[in-house]
């Protein structure tokens, strides 16, 4: 089968590390240092997502982004998530960041799809 090697510039590539840093910063700035509070969790979750997205778009990359975040209280339960994708592997990518403090976990997933 024909294989086309398309040169993809760095600019149009999903860089996992960069995105990961961005996410970490966003989460840290939103809920870093807080203890789990049931009344505020909803607000935290949406603000995490929003700040992530905001930071990602500032990267000025031609990507479609999908950001999901899960905040779970540390009560001894287990949490397992998985994802599967059907995309163009060379241009698209995903990144999952798992952040935790003493009382809660925060898992943020970012899927970036090249335009």
């Amino acid at each position: 089968m024909l294989q086309f090697y398309v040169s993809v510039s760095v600019q149009t590539q999903f860089v996992v590390d960069e995105v990961s840093n961005v996410i970490k910063e966003a989460v840290e700035s939103t809920i870093g240092g807080n203890t789990y509070q049931q009344a505020k969790v909803n607000q935290w979750a949406s603000s995490v997502v929003e700040s992530c997205l905001g930071a990602l778009t500032k990267l000025q990359k031609p990507f479609k982004y999908i950001v999901t975040s899960v905040i779970m209280q540390k009560t001894g339960a287990g949490l397992h998530t998985a994802s599967s994708c059907y995309w163009d592997n060379s241009t698209d990518g995903s990144c999952t960041v798992r952040w935790e403090n003493k009382t809660m976990y925060c898992i943020v997933s970012v899927f970036g799809l090249a335009i």
Binding site: V6, Q60, T75, G76, G78, I115
Partner: protein, 752 residues
Amino acid sequence: MEFQYVYIKKRSEFGRQCFFTSEPGALSCDIPPDPELAAQFIHVNPVHRGTQVGCEMSEHEVSTDRAEFATTGINHAEGGWARDINPQDVEQTTRFKKKVEKDDMYMSSVLQLGALMEHCIKQNNTLDMYEEYFGGQQDGGPAGEGATGAKTVNVFRDPCPQRRAVSSLSWSPDATRLAAAYTSLRFQSSARDLPVQSFVWDVENPSRPDYTLTPPDSLVSLEFNPKESFVLAGGTYRGRVCVFDRRRGALPVDLSPLETGHADPVYSTVWVNSKSGAEIFTASTDGMVLWWDTRKLSEPIESLILDVNKTQEPSLRAAQGATVLEYETTIPTKFMIGTEQGTVIQCNRKGKTQTEKIAAVYQAHLGPVQQVQRNPAFLKNFITIGDWSAKVWSEDCKESAIFWTNPGEVRLTGGSWSPSRPSVFFTSKADGTVDVWDVLYQQRLPVLTIQVGDSPLETLRVQEAGALLAAGSADGQITLLELSDTLVNSGKNDRLVLTAMFERETRREKILEGKNREARLLKKMKEGNSAVSERSSTISPGLTASARLEKEQTEVELIEDAQSTFFDTVCQVKSARRDVQMSQMAEKGVVADLDGAEFQAPDLAAADDADQPPDAVSGTAVPGSASRQSATKVSSTTGKRSSTIAKKSSTSAATADVSSTAATKASSTGAPAPESETETTSPTDATETETAGSSSLVTAVDDPAALGRALSVAEQIARVVDSLEEAVDDLLDPTSEETGATEDQSTEQTES
């Protein structure tokens, strides 16, 4: 949040073929469960959450509307008009009336109603429903209606760190101040260096005293000058008298020297109603009453030694110690003294000699008199308080009080009449209570008992208006009580009733006094005539000792006579019974002596068998003499049971001659010996026993030597017979016969 991103894409790249590859499922997050964390949380079930379906308001007020109601009566003067008629309009009313009168039912209804109306009107006329029944009377029961009580208004505490007892209280004439003398009255109390100050308190302010008095040594008695409220006179522990003037500071203005004063603490200081207004007199337990001029306290102006013995020279040694003085300003020359010995001495100041001065002596109490006070309304009557009771006296009755309270369990320490109610008086007790007595209500118990404190109360003073009462205690605390109105205000009739009561009691005492005097005179006379006659009159006080003895003797004799007659009759009865039994035994006599009886007994038994129930006899068919005897006895018992009294009597009557013959032969003693066996025989066998008895009697005569022995035996047998008869009654079934038999057997064996 709006994101905007302008991106640039190369035209060549438009529509670029997308090379899809499937990304296998990747685990993006894997957090294993941690049970340790679960331990930090507790399951809250159920969870309580309050809900309220109601609007939350910041401010909300609920209040019902106020409606004023008034209850009035209505006087129905006019009414019953139809609605369209205006009652004011005369024309309308007259028209209406005319119309109604033409009505058919008018006449009958008017008659009917008229009857009812007439009844009501008559009722109204006879009774005045609104009449006031007890309009004129006021509240005034015996102790007044309404709550009787006293409440503590103020408590004044000794500000000095060492508590001293309150020994005396005095109200100022304007009733705003209370003077209190503090001292330690315990004999040779250890702390003789106690602070000497006494205080004058403002009644309204219990926190600190109004002003302080500093005498040379502690004051025992203290008194305001009734005319000038700035001046106070006091007597000290060492016997000195001092005068204080408030305007001139705390130290006494004048002080009597130790030599001319009293030798003991000055227990009482009283202002005299004199022209100069500067005279006091003091009393002490050294037996002296001294009068002083307050302007010059260097020496007393007059003195009186309380020697009540009617000797020429009053001696201090025989004098009685005074503890309290009484002085009524309306009677300026007379005064009374209560002494340590328990007497009350009424004195006249104007007397020239000792006997004139001492007008009367009343033996009041068993211990020191704590207080003497005249009744403010009835000056002839005074109260004395001492030992355990309070006594009310009349001046006329010198022997005893006209009435007194029951001796209580606690010592009384002070008291006072109520200045406003002549029938009420107060007493203070050593257990810290104040009793309020009302003599018109009841004399046995106080009307009110107020527990003022725990420590004993030393003194009590009522303020002149009668509403405030100050009580001083042994730990330096003065309690001010306010009495309820019922105790303060007297009723209209109180005075009259009280007068009547006092007169009645006085009269009673006088009569008793008279009777006592008569009795004593009579006794004296009797003792004088005792040599002449001993049988004195029947008046019990006149009975001499010897006559009384005689009376007693006769009583003793009587008792003895009665006793002897009783015993005689008993013995007679007993002996009569015994004789009857002897005669009974004589009828059954067979054998000469005990040995012979054994042989005879079986024959008798055989004779008995015919009459006795076969089972009883068969039961007793046992070989051996003893058993035979028992058998016969048993049979006899059964025989006795079955036999009637008539039989016995008949046999006894039949053998009466036998017994008589036996008696004549002087073998009555011998007869009992065989009688021991004869008794076992059946009484039914009259004839056989008769003959047997006679034969036995004949043979018995042969042995007179055995008389004495037989005598005692006979008596024992008599007793046995009695017991047998009892046993007969107890034996109810044949089975117990043998046991009864064994009993009898044992008794007989002991005898024989």
